[in-house]
Every structure is written in structure tokens, then in C-alpha cells.
Symmetry: C2
Subunit: 135 residues, 2 copies
DNA sequence: TCTGTATTTGCAAATGTTAGCATATCTAAA
DNA sequence: TTTAGATATGCTAACATTTGCAAATACAGA
């Protein structure tokens, strides 16, 4: 039954794609509304190259989909449920005791924020760091 | 509102912990039953050092808990719901067209396997390779 | 229509950092 | 001493980040 190895490998790859704060942030923002590279650059406060590069990772792994709109490229989540699933992962985080309370309140804030900011099923909307290691 | 950065960082760290096939496999096996390092070594077919190393990553991130039993060390999931949540991530995997069908059936197999092998909800019980890159 | 320019995005290379593996050594319990 | 685990070290490969440049498009002017 080698399928276990295959599937755990695919899952690991998915988790690898998500193991970057900027990519998490991008997904978080795309849950609210479809955005261009420029808009994400402003929201996240990073260079366009950084945004584009992280988007290319998400794109090549089919988590986001692009669609050109004139000179802009608008990105949206292929499966919006992804953002919800990601947020559920908060339940498995056990913060360090030092940062415990800060994290607890932060998690609650985000849970509230994500809960209220429901993405309007919308049409063609148009406007507008850190490193993470394991050991 | 810097909490977004804090939380996305914590989430990214969690995903980083899970971005390794062996660690996924370990969680998968620990969902069925608590296991020792030696047992995991046999099941996964890797060296005890490799098992111990990956367990230390899981342990330092509070995903698994150890308990000595004589000369053995038994590991179990801190929160068994973690395994279920991980499996839900399969829904966001879009396999390459080449491997499409193989993956589809593999995913179904695993979903079935995980579905049936339910770990007894038990109380305070006390008993008893590949690399993954993103781009 | 054609041309030049600014805007937006993608892509590639260079550099620094880190994870994973294999091997070996070390510690704890019986 | 033996068995089960944990940890340290060196090597390799992959990742993150920045910088620069190329491609595509829109728009203004002739």
C-alpha cells in the first residue's frame, strides 16, 4: 500500500506551500476579495517582486487562479474553503507561555475578523516578513 | 493591527512542522494508536535516528506528547483532532494531470482507511521517505 | 494607425540561510 | 552491559530575499 507515502507526500507539499507568513497573508486577503499584485503590495507593505514570487508559488500549486483584466492581473482563491480550513489550524497552536496571553487574544481577534469579513460572492472587483522555520 | 502578522507567522510555523512526509506519516500512525520510537521505526522503515529527529520537531511544537514506560518512550497526539484536520487538507490538492487518476484513487483509499481506523476516543489512557519541497 | 512611454507583472540570477540525512557518539533504564 | 532514544556534526540541496531586466498592455500624440 504505497498510497500512504504518495498521499503524505502530497499533503506535505501542500503544507510546505502554506508554511510562509506572506503566503498565508495573501490567502487571508484573497478570502475577503480578489486582488491585484499591486493591491497586495500595498496591503502587505512589501515589494511587488516579493508578492509576485509568492503568488507564483501559490499559482503553480493551484491554490490561486489568475485572470487578466487589462493591464492588471487579478488573483482569486481557487477554493475559498481553503481559507476557512487554514484558520481552523489555529486550534492546534499552543503558544509559548511567554507570549501566551498575547497570542490568545490575537487568535481571538483574527477569528472574529475572519468570521465577519465574509467575502461578497462578487464579480469583477477592481480597486485599490518574516521568516518561518520549524526547529 | 499587527496581530495578523503574529497569527500568520504562527500558522506558517505550524504548516512548516507539517510539511514533511515522515511527520505526516507519524501523525497518521499515532492517530490509530500510541506508539514507541521503535514501533514507528519498523512501520515507516527508516532509522531510529530519523524517527527520533522528526518526533523532536513534533514534540517541540507540542503536537505530540511523550511518556516514558520503563525503557520505552511512548508517543501520542496531544490533540487527536489534528489528524482529522490534516486529512481534510486532501480536499485542496489538485494533482498533476499525469498522476491525476493515480492520485484520485490514492486519496480515496486513504480517506477510507482513515475513516475506518477510528481511534477509540479513550480517556487518560497511558499504555503502550521522501523529501518535500515547494517550488 | 503607428510610435513612444509609463505601468504592471513575471522571470532569473546571486547570496545567505536552513532543513534533512547519515553517521557516530552520548544518556538513561533494566 | 545491553537496549532504547536522544543528540551532535558535516554534507548537500532547497528555500527566501533582493536586484535587475524583460514582456505585455494602456494611453497620448502625431
Amino acid at each position: 500500500m504505497p498510497y500512504r507515502a504518495v498521499v503524505s507526500g502530497e499533503l506535505a507539499k501542500l503544507f510546505g506551500v502554506l508554511s510562509h507568513p506572506i503566503r498565508i497573508r495573501i490567502i487571508e486577503e484573497l478570502k475577503r476579495e480578489d486582488l491585484t499584485v499591486g493591491a497586495l503590495k500595498d496591503i502587505l507593505g512589501i515589494t511587488h517582486a516579493a508578492v509576485s514570487q509568492q503568488l507564483s508559488v501559490l499559482r503553480s500549486n493551484h491554490l490561486v487562479v489568475e485572470s487578466r483584466q487589462g493591464r492588471n492581473v487579478v488573483y482569486h482563491l481557487r477554493n475559498p474553503a481553503l481559507a476557512i480550513w487554514i484558520m481552523e489550524g489555529l486550534g492546534f497552536i499552543l503558544p509559548d507561555t511567554s507570549e501566551m496571553e498575547k497570542m490568545r487574544s490575537a487568535i481571538k481577534d483574527v477569528q472574529n475578523a475572519w468570521g465577519s469579513e465574509t467575502k461578497p460572492v462578487k464579480a469583477i472587483a477592481k480597486k485599490s516578513n518574516t521568516k518561518t522555520r520549524v526547529k
